[in-house]
Every structure is written in structure tokens, then in C-alpha cells.
Symmetry: C2
Subunit: 465 residues, 2 copies
Amino acid sequence: MTGSNLAAALPEALTDRLNALLGEHFTANASVCGHHGGGGMRHPNLPPQAVAFPATTDEVAAVVRLCAEFRVPLIPFGAGTSLECHVGAVAGGVSLDLSRMNRVLRVSAEDFDCTVEAGVTRMALNTHLRDTGLFFPVDPGVDATLGGMTATRASGTTTVRYGGMRENVMALKVVTADGQMIRTAGRARKSSAGYDLTHLFVGSEGTLGVITEVTLRLHPVPEAVAAAVCAFPSAEAAVSTVIEALQSGVTPARAEYLDAVQMGAVNTAFDLDYAVADSLFLEFHGDSESVQSQARAFGELATANGGADFRWETEPEGRERLWRARHQAGFAALSLRPGAVPWSTDICVPISRLAECVVETRADLADTPFPGTMLGHVGDGNFHCILLLNLDDPIEMATAAAFDARLVRRALAMDGTCTGEHGIGLGKQAALVHELGDAVKVMRAIKRVLDPDGLMNPGKIFSAA
Amino acid sequence: MTGSNLAAALPEALTDRLNALLGEHFTANASVCGHHGGGGMRHPNLPPQAVAFPATTDEVAAVVRLCAEFRVPLIPFGAGTSLECHVGAVAGGVSLDLSRMNRVLRVSAEDFDCTVEAGVTRMALNTHLRDTGLFFPVDPGVDATLGGMTATRASGTTTVRYGGMRENVMALKVVTADGQMIRTAGRARKSSAGYDLTHLFVGSEGTLGVITEVTLRLHPVPEAVAAAVCAFPSAEAAVSTVIEALQSGVTPARAEYLDAVQMGAVNTAFDLDYAVADSLFLEFHGDSESVQSQARAFGELATANGGADFRWETEPEGRERLWRARHQAGFAALSLRPGAVPWSTDICVPISRLAECVVETRADLADTPFPGTMLGHVGDGNFHCILLLNLDDPIEMATAAAFDARLVRRALAMDGTCTGEHGIGLGKQAALVHELGDAVKVMRAIKRVLDPDGLMNPGKIFSAA
């Protein structure tokens, strides 16, 4: 679906100068623009009027300055994998596709850090690192760019142990709305030097400037890894097992909940024979001794909560099969209603409230007229419902919106958040105000002063006005 | 020493209304004002014209609004322990002493978090937590308030393992310059909901608003703790041992370097008989098995680097004696030159460059005409020189300033920072610009929009103009 995009055509003088700057790496080709519109899930596709493919920070700065001169919006674009239409051209303009900025600039194995251009994907980085004994852990499932993951403050399955982008970005190179290049920090492990601009740009969704380089923390590849799937008698039993483990000091590297509906879909899609029950997908990292002791301690808690049918995978192939099933759970869910469009919710609550929140949400989901699954990063208190919808049925879409609004209200009443990891984009703007109230005015003030003409990814996080 | 303070007297109408609001908890008493001037080290004491002692966030907001109405500066004050004159009243005004806001509002043992008023000190919090099995680890040595530690982005001896305030503050309640109360986040472990205002205020040094409540991560009290002092043949050997330990996955809870001069001072001041040599003060946390294996692994690396004379303390009293010696090292250093004023430097570099930086700085320090010691949190790459100076000798002070400038340049050339944990305040403003260049313009823009009249702790981080 392509939404309406009311912006006027780009000024010819601008396209001439972008052509002169970038040559074949600037295009207004409709198909290329159509692939940069951020559609998906419940969101319309909102193509830009042109796409620029800069190769360097200097080229990014030149594009930013040109767009500023002509007052044309600019939308930074990584891999286009975001779920809240972060890259849709709400007000037209130029999409700034960073995929050519794909160099790993530096790896310091001794300091456990590296610097990459914003267009490097997380999998490409890990391939680059494979002989260093280090890896970059943040894993949102898809192969997003590290610039995009930074811009949306992404996290994912390993956050319970390694943190998300918030914890793993050390410094950024950014082109601000006026075309200046800034470096937000050096490479020291800590610093008290002025305002924390690094964290201001982590999660800013392209609305304050263009991230062109990212300095990241790396982690040692664990000596031993064990993964398992375990079935439970209820959602509460599964979730409680993870919470009890964390509270007793056992921190899995991944602790993923999938409900029985989702497990059935996974079995069908990937020809597996897991129990069709509320389940946990787990992974433990450490030396072989500690992996064994963690697995034993976790197993005891699971058994006490009625968990059974532990299936362990210690070889890479088995683990890969297991995590493919988890990471493609959204795809698998689609088999429950062929032709449906998925809508993923994203709340996160303090872990002490998680079991209650999951149980209430499960009951609410059972009352809706469409199929839906539940899954999530329960070690962080974050879970998703995947609602399978007929986008052409306005009553069904309104019912889904009401379900999501109830879910957000439930999470906020538990001191949680409307978005654990997907971001605000177009989809959560009302929820953000509901969550943080007057703090959103402070955010708008920062936006106003750093992007006075409102050209950096306008209409995201808050409306353009 | 009292510096000049050129501000006019406070408007009588303002003092009348502050008196009406706070009664005895508002004073212009010269002695009280004198204790709120932030002097110490090389900095002058710059007393405010009055001090307000609010008891609630509402009272803070009322004081902020009154000062805004009369365009009078407001300087948030915690325990006054900062080292860069953060609380000096550069342009006069009202000091906002938060010591009456000393309640622990909530502890959620299940979620490993708590919320405190800004005036709670870290030791008071840990006393409050003593029956919960949890503790708050960030330890800058002195008993600072948690609001102050947040505002300066403090860290300290345990940061190598537990992180500093940046990693341990989850959410804040803040009164902004226009007297609005905002909450920067909820209690979810992660969130992608808009700009990260929490981290913007962590380290903002009171220049953007007044932090009145802090939500903090807590950590389980380790089952076993062992501390030790170990002597080395050189600074390089001591520092390299810590770096090698971190690189091999052994993360001490504390890893403090003290040079031979400092060890001599510690022996004298506390009647101890440690070897007068470049030394490490260490602590390991975990279950008893892992503490033993960490200590063994660390001991092997130390021995390979020529370390000897390990003195272990596993009982609380012995550990307390050991860490008192470390935490009061600055006091001990004063015995090297009675009557001298200390000046503490604060650079931090990537750990791969630390040994080189320490060795070069040691040589530079040996060439200065005044005594000085070196010590630091070497697991983070952060170390301090304590220069012992005659404040009345302008040539000596200029020599010290030149030494510090060389040290900052050395650290920045190694991609480090001018301040690992003390902050900018009055003392590091030129260094901040040297370190981050145009990024400081972005900081100034944020300051301008969130505090348009420049009343929140003016003259800190950057000059008031």
C-alpha cells in the first residue's frame, strides 16, 4: 500500500546539485523510492521523492547542507527494518540511504571496542570480528544496520545479559541539521565531559541529525554456549521461572517466551515438533563449568514451576535451528492467517509485574476476533503480541488499536513503557505523551533548537507541527 | 579563600516570598552561605546570597519559579563534595540545598531498583538497604548525595565491575528551569520511548534543571568478598596486570593503583606498613568459589608481572581498613607538604593506552617543582595526580596548570577524556572545548533552549555568556 504524499516535487536546482555531487548515487527512480517508504505492518508506505547514497560523512554533510538550503526534508535510512515506519517520507523529501557506508573502520581487541560506519549491519560486523575472539551481542533478529539500531535504541534477545544499544554505544559521529560534523565522545570507558550527547542521539530516530559512525563495545565470545527449549504448563510458570532465575543471580544470555499459539505456528512453519505449550527458548554463555552450573540451577527452577521436556542444543547447527525458529516467529505467525498483516505490540514492564501483565494480556487477546500470538524478551520485562489482521477491515483495525491502547495503559499503570525496543516512529506518538507527559515538551524543545526548520525526519516521535 | 562575587543583593520581594514559602528553611546567614560556596582544591569559594532548604519537589518547583520571576540564579547543592567548584555561585543567587530531601521513597527488591530523594547520600541508602540483600555500588569515596552524584555523572572505585551513575540511574524526577516537574522515564529495564532525557540530565551539573528524585539500579550483595594489596616493581607492571586480567575475563570489583609516593603517604597517615612501591588495591566479588578462582587467576598474572607481597583481607574489618587507606589517600597525600592545597587531575584513556599514559605522566610529574602522587581506577583507564601546591605562589600554580594541560593533551591524543569522573564545573571548560570541539555548540544550544534566561547554575560546564 502506498500512502498519499502531498509534498511538491523537489526543486530542480536541488536535484541538479545532488546529481553533481553524487552522480549515479542519487536517483528519483520510482521503484527505488518505493523501497525507501518504510511501509509494513499497519503502516502505509511513504516513499521519498529521491534517494541519495552517500559514501562518506563529508558527502552526508553536503547532502544535509543542500537539503537545508532548499528546505527539503531528509530521512536517514539504514536497512529499512524498523517496525514503526521510521523511514517513511511523511512530508516528502530525500531519503539518505547509508548502505554504501559499510566499512568497519577500526577494531581494538585490547579495548573491546570498534568503530563502524553507520551502514554496517550487525551480521557483517560479526563476520568481520570472527577471528578476534570478540563479538557484538545486540541482536534484534533482523540484520539491521548499526546506525539504524543506534537511531532506534534497539535491543533484542541478548539484552538481558549484554544490554542493548543504550549500553553498547560508546560514541558517535553525527552530522547535525546545519551540516556540521560532531563527535559526541572519545573512546574512554567513562567520561564526565559535559552533556551526554551520545545517549541523546541513541534513540533520536533521525530527528536530530544523521549518525554516520558508531563506536561500539565488544564482548568476548563465550567459551561455551548451551541453548534449550522447555515447555511449561502456563505463561505464568514460564515467566516466573525467568524472574526467579534473575533474582537468584542466574542471568541467561537469552530468555525468550513463546506462547502455545506461537509454538504451533513455529512447528508448522519450520517442520519442528516442539511441544505446543507456553515455552521458553534459553541460552547460557560462560566457561563450560559455569554454563553447566547455570543450566542446572535454571533447570531446577523450571522443574519447580512445572517445566518439562527440556531440549538442549550445544552444537552450533542445533542452536542455529532453534534461534532461527525464534527469530522468524513473526513470519511463522503469518501461517495462522494467510494474507493477514501483522501488528506487533511492544510494551515493557518491571519484571516483578511481568507475569501479571502477560496473564492479563493473554486473556484480553483471547477476547479479540482475530488470531494473535505472544512472545518476548521476558528477562527484560518486554513482550510482543503479534496480531494478525485484515488491513481492509476498519472495524478489525479499530479493535486492534483498542487492544494495543489497553495494553499500553496496562503497562504504564505498572510503571512500564509503551515501547521496549521498537521506538515511537509514527505508531506510538500518542502513547509517548501518555507515558511521559510534560517531558515530551522538553523533547520538542530540543528538537526545535537542534533542527529549527524541522527537516530531519519530520513527523517522527512527534508530529511535525 | 573567598572569591569575588559581584552580583547585586537579592531583591527584597524575592527574599520575602522565599521566607514566606520556607520560613526557617531559607536563610541569608553569612556562615551558611559561606559553606555553600564550593571552594576547595584550586577553586575559590563563591558563596551564594542565600540558601533555601526545600523539603519536597513542590517546594523546589516553587523556589525555581520564584527565582525565574526575579531572574535570580539558582544553584542546586547536594553534599558539596564536588572537586570542580560545581556549586560556586559565580553570578550570585540562591543555593538550593537538597539535604532535607533525604527519604528513600521505595525499594523493589524483586526488580533490583529503588527511588530516592536527591538528598539521600549513598551511605544512607546502603544503610537503608542492609536487610534486603541488595546494595548500591557506585562509590566515589566521599559520602556524596545521590542527586549530586547523578548531576556530575560520578563513578569511582567499583565502576570497573558495576558501572557508574551513567549505568545505574534508570529515571529521574526533574524540575526544569520554568518550574515544571517532569519524569524522564518509568521503571522498565529498557525503553525506546523518545529522547533519552535521563542520560541528558545525568552529568548536566545542575545547568538544565534540578534533579529531585532518582531511580537507581541495585545489585545483589556478593556472597563472598576478598580484598588485597599487592606491590609491583613499576607502574607499568601494576597497570598491565589489571589490563591483562580484564582482557582474560577476570573483572575485579575494584582495581586501584597507588604509586610509591602515595603508598608512603598512606603508611604515614594511617600507621600502616605496606611496601612503598607501585601497588594495586584489589577487591573480588562473587560466590566463594568464583572469588577464589578470580583471585588465583589474578595472582598468576600479578606474579608474571613481578607482583609480590600479596596481603589478603577477607574479613570486613580488614577490608574496611584497607579501603579507608585508599579512600583517604588524598588526605594522606597532604602529609607530604603540610599546608599545601591539593589539585586533582582526572583524565581517562582507553585501557590499551593506560600503561603508556601513566609512565609518561609519572616522568612529567617527576620534573615538576612540587610533590605529587598518582592513583586511580585503572580498570576504567582513569587516574588522578594529586599535586600539592602553594596557592599563593603564582609561578607554581601556573606550572601546575601547564602540567594539567599537558596531561589533558596526552589523554586526548590517546582518544581519552579530560575528566573521567569529576566533571567540568569551573575547572575544565577549556579542556571540554579542546576535547569535543563543535559538539560543545550543541550542548550550548540545549542549555539555551532549556534555560533561556541562564539561571540554572550559570557559568558551569561553559561560561554564562
